[in-house]
Amino acid sequence: MRAAEAVLAREETGSGVQEIDFEAWMAEEQKRIFLLCMRLLRTRDEADSATQDVFVEAYKTLEKSGGQAIQEPAKWLTRVAFNTCYDRLRSKRWLFWQRHSSDASGDSLLRIIPAVGPNQEDAAAAHDIRQRLEKALDRLSVRQRAVFILRHDEDRSIEEIAQIMDLDAGTVKAHMARAIKKLREELRDLYVR
């Protein structure tokens, strides 16, 4: 593996052209991509499998490109991850599974989120809100959820989200506005506290 992967892409940087080692790049991006898949797919196993798909797909694309530079590799990888998850979410198998295990979603991500906060009370409150937020996210459409997660978790701008999801900025804003409206309704009791 090591010999074959060698150098698969070159990235333009301020100091010139930097060669990207696939192994190092994967190690750097892996956690972020896994968490994004986790947020979109809601189950650890699916996210694990999707993350593997993402990097296999990325490797294949880089291999085909013959070392050509990929513009903004992190954003490009996010786009591959989004498309991978989106295809899964739209598949019949996934919809069937979702219908038959509606109770399984929601808590899976929370199991790996440590309670962080300045004190125990705040930590508990933050955990409570996150838990509610996770469940509320289930009620959004796939696109609304993706838009919200890319903004909320990855801190992407509306323009970046539009590029990642291959939508125009106006559509992204519309999805975001609907997502916020739905979440506000779901979390109303927390919101007015």
């Binding site: 593996m1 074959a4 994967m26 190690a27 892996q30 956690k31 896994f34 968490l35 947020r39 694990d48 993350t51 593997q52 990097f55 296999v56 490797y59 294949k60 991500l109 790996i112 989120i113 440590p114 962080v116 906060g117 705040d122 933050a126 809100i129 996150r130 937020l133 919200f148 903004r151 909320h152 978790d153 801190d155 701008s157 509306i158 804003k173 975001m176 506005a177 916020i180 506000r184 919101y191």
Partner: protein, 140 residues
Amino acid sequence: MYDKHWSDEELVALLYGVGSEGDHLDVCDSCARRWEAIRCRYENLRPAGIEVSGEFLAAQRRAIHARLREKRHRFPRVLVPVLVTLLLAAIMIVYRPAPEPPPAKEKISDAQLFDDVFRMVSDPEPSAVEPIRSLFEEQK
């Protein structure tokens, strides 16, 4: 003082990049304070502290490597239908079925043969003449 402060909804919309932009927050202390409070809560909600174990990530990388190795050693799928077609063609050439024999003529009984021969002999004109003859008949 301002007549109209921004609502929480407007501040949250701004937080997510879909709110109206303007200099209101720069000039309204009250809204600026609420904005900071909302931003603070937002930061607390962001999953920045999520930990995924190194073991899990290492196992995932091993699985990815295994899949890449498998892909490299796997026979190219595109060639499978081509090879199957070639194989079938070769089988058809080698084991070409023998041509079917012409259908056997119906056996005619002696009586029927005798009847046919008798009719041919007794008829003064061959049956092929009949359509031509009708051309020369006067129409009634």
